[in-house]
Amino acid sequence: MSLATEVPVLPAVAAYPGVEGRLFRAGGREDLAAYRATGGYAVVEDVERLLDQVDEAGVRGRGGAAFPIARKIRTVRDGRGVPVAVANGEEGEPASVKDRWLLRTRPHLVLDGLRLASLMVGADEVHVYVSDPGSAESVRAAVQELGGAGVWDAQVEVTVVEPTYVAGEETAAVQALNGGPALPTDKPPRPFEEGVKGRPTLVNNVETLANLPLVQRLGATGYRELGTVASTGTFLLTLSGCAATGLYEVPFGVTLTEVLSWLGEDPAQVDGVLMGGYFAGVLGRQVLDASLEYDAIKALHSGLGCGAVGVLSSGTCAVEVSAAVMAYFARENAGQCGSCFNGTAAMSAVLEALRDHRAEAADVERLTDWSVRLRGRGACGTLDGATNVAAAVLREFPDAVTTHLDGTCATCAGNEGQPLSRAPFAVALPAA
């Protein structure tokens, strides 16, 4: 894939063999009647018991940090003040489409999850936070369908912001819901301590929430029938960079080789991936046989993040991809923290020079140094994502770095000076 290809419109959505009746559903938007026919919006007899089940099921956050939701619910529930619950469907990550797909096609699954989360946390105010107009429309219609249906009578506030990379960060969401700009704030406080209206706020990714009704229906043991011990259930994998670009529900623990083979792709043609969206940077061929679960990917110094995987097909240069991702961070950071706007610009300049066969060993040394020392220096994780991208290409593709220093990268020869303005592996949904 060349970086110059157009943003592909998501062509395929499917579930891996053996995955049934969870997040994936064929066909168009699921309305209230269809969702209720699957057992949705089931009465909760015992909230405490449900929370224990969610804990036993081991559900972890799908927004990027893989934090156990049961633990977050308990912390927020026990905080100071009446909690607020927020479904985060902003999805600023260019390489991911899962959240918008869920909201557009399965709004009731997400709303049911939000209902269960707000019950468990004791929230009296619930929000759905999005940037995609199609998602907003779908959720608003679902809320209307719920009116008078007698299954959930909460007032669900739908808030739509401009789509940006940082708008989905949880403090940006909180600031936006408090009437401010959708920009991150420095910590402390974190939303679980003080969020919307200063109250303890549960912010969860919409895919995380969509798993709660599954736990209610399947029980902890049934839920755990798919996945691994520490990464339970399934996840929505946004795959891009190959002919099989699309959205796939797969069980945690499959390998990329298995997924690619299932989709008719040849793993031998893969040099590596861009892992976890833009947050974790590139990862070499070792990823092919790794178990796709949080801890195994972390052990490779990378991260599964939001489940977006961009395939570096043979003939894609990891240096060019990393330079393009860094250029994106240099453009799309919120421009608030000096270490971030200076650091991403500086790292971007070095990676662009490297791509263009202009960099020297001393530049790469500075990049190495920044990739370590700038970590943790921003109010939000964007700068950490940028340091990951720099560190990853240096660690995973040392040969590509060398050929760029030598001026001999065959893939990039002749591309010098090409703008890095396109977001690599960006995937889009059809216009709503």
């Binding site: 920009l183 704030t185 420095d186 200063g198 919120a334 923290c337 000096g338 700038l374 109010a379």
Partner: protein, 73 residues
């Protein structure tokens, strides 16, 4: 004493790192991050207080009780 730093406000004037280098760490562009979690040892409190008062953009705040923390924001 316990403090917090708002890096979205910091304008990189560097006063704080001059008065309390053990607490504020400058990057190469002059922007700071806290060293540690904002717990200031008694022997460093004077320097940190000076930094707090002199920071032109009020990026540094002392954390007292919960109520004061909220009001300070």
């Amino acid at each position: 004493m316990k403090i917090k730093l708002d890096r979205t406000k910091c304008d990189g004037f560097g006063f704080c790192a001059k008065y309390a280098p053990e607490t504020f760490d400058l990057d190469e562009w002059g922007y700071v991050s806290l060293i540690g979690a904002g717990n200031v040892a008694p022997e460093h409190e004077d320097g940190v207080r000076r930094a707090l008062l002199d920071c032109p953009v009020h990026a540094i705040t002392e954390l007292h009780t919960h109520a004061e923390e909220t009001a300070a924001r």
